[in-house]
Symmetry: C2
Subunit: 218 residues, 2 copies
DNA sequence: TGTACATCAGTGAACGCGCGTTCACTGATGTAC
DNA sequence: TGTACATCAGTGAACGCGCGTTCACTGATGTAC
């Protein structure tokens, strides 16, 4: 099988960039914003070591703080992870909004752009993506995560409605939206797995996304 | 959001059933087939406690054997998990073959049936499914898993080729197959997540699958 | 058929490890007067 | 402006725990003679 694109092909059009170095370590006795520092440390660890490679101790080490410090800001380990994922999802939602700015309302290009950003996020931040969707939901069973996910999907459904010439989110709009979501969701997982497996070959992601959008919105 | 079906709606058409009770415990000093017993124990633990809830000690307890016994059959913990996932994937492949038996070659119904079985497996054995695809691949980075996955996909591509009236697996066949795979793959993850979240509502899975197959194969 | 023996699957005790979390504490900071 | 004090973010040592893995061993089984 040959379903992987070159690094350029993924990164350039999807705009994958390295994380800007956020401040982590404290300078004096007080950290300044340890909560944010720990979330950032957690995020990095999840990205570097995978969703299950995260430990409170590691995050403390990275933030330059004692292992007891987090408990002034989070109830427990799970709370730290939930907070980190929530922060990632907010970023995800902002990115999607930015992605469609300037594209005329009701244009299928908006759907394609949203899909591209969805996949882009999954490839840029696979740790967060998989922590939210990769089957840890048992452990991270949290209402706030659920709600954040639904809010994003509702936002997409509004765009789908416009493309289909509907004013409301009808059952048919939901059905089509669900098809599109399933597609980009699965695509995200597969591309991530393939990337890891270092197989050769190419795929024109832009064309794939717009082709599917056309097929499902028509 | 309302994207979950009732238990009947999922289980009946997809044929979700409980695991038949396989033999686990040994009777005398020797187990008989401890390798198989440990794989079955591992499988159950992965399904019951989630992909990361598995421990060698638990599997030993379940198989009624000392914690050192597995090392006569597996190099380490990872080997146990890989063996368990491989066994699940073989079952998955068999199920897909059974699902299309009796449906005329080249009929899009074959694709729909394959998709249904794909989703069905993910819902019946979410632990195995997520261990293969849910982002643990870093840890389970194994050539045999990779190959097993590719073999299954190749098999599906042959069916897609027939539906499109092609004799070979052309690039276009691969493209369409990839679209279909992405869709059922994402669908599997979403349905599993939603099921967990106990939301209300309904979805006609049969119609969804055949509708998407039609749109992508046309 | 009976016996000696090689094989090797399974034992059970032990190990070192890193983890999440708690605890009484310390010291930097902001504010009221 | 200077001082006393309340607040509370961060310390560092300690805990109990379950884990994966190792070790020298034991005892059931199959086979050669």
């Amino acid at each position: 099988m040959v379903w992987i694109m070159t690094e350029q092909k993924i990164s350039a059009p999807l705009g994958i960039t390295q994380d800007p170095a956020k401040p982590l370590k404290k300078e004096g006795y007080h950290h300044g914003d340890l909560r944010a520092g720990l979330i950032e440390a957690t995020r990095r660890l999840i990205e570097e070591k995978g969703p299950d490679g995260f430990s409170v101790s590691d995050a403390c080490r990275l933030a330059g703080v004692s292992t007891a410090a987090p408990y002034k800001h989070f109830k427990d380990r799970t709370e730290m992870m939930v907070a980190t994922v929530l922060e990632g999802m907010a970023r995800h939602r902002d990115n999607m909004q930015t992605a469609i700015a300037g594209i005329p309302e009701g244009s299928p290009d908006r759907i394609t752009a949203l899909g591209k950003e969805y996949v882009g996020f999954a490839l840029r931040e696979p740790g967060i993506f998989r922590l939210k969707f990769g089957g840890f939901s048992d452990r991270l069973d949290d209402d706030r995560l659920q709600q954040a996910g639904e809010a994003t999907f509702t936002r997409v459904l509004e765009e789908v409605a416009k493309c289909l010439g509907e004013t409301d989110v009808t059952p048919e709009v939901q059905r089509r939206g669900f098809m599109l979501w399933s597609f980009v969701h699965g695509l995200s997982f597969i591309l991530h797995d393939q990337k890891l497996s270092k197989m050769g070959g190419e795929i024109d992601l832009d064309f794939l996304l717009s082709d599917v959008a056309r097929r499902i919105l028509s």
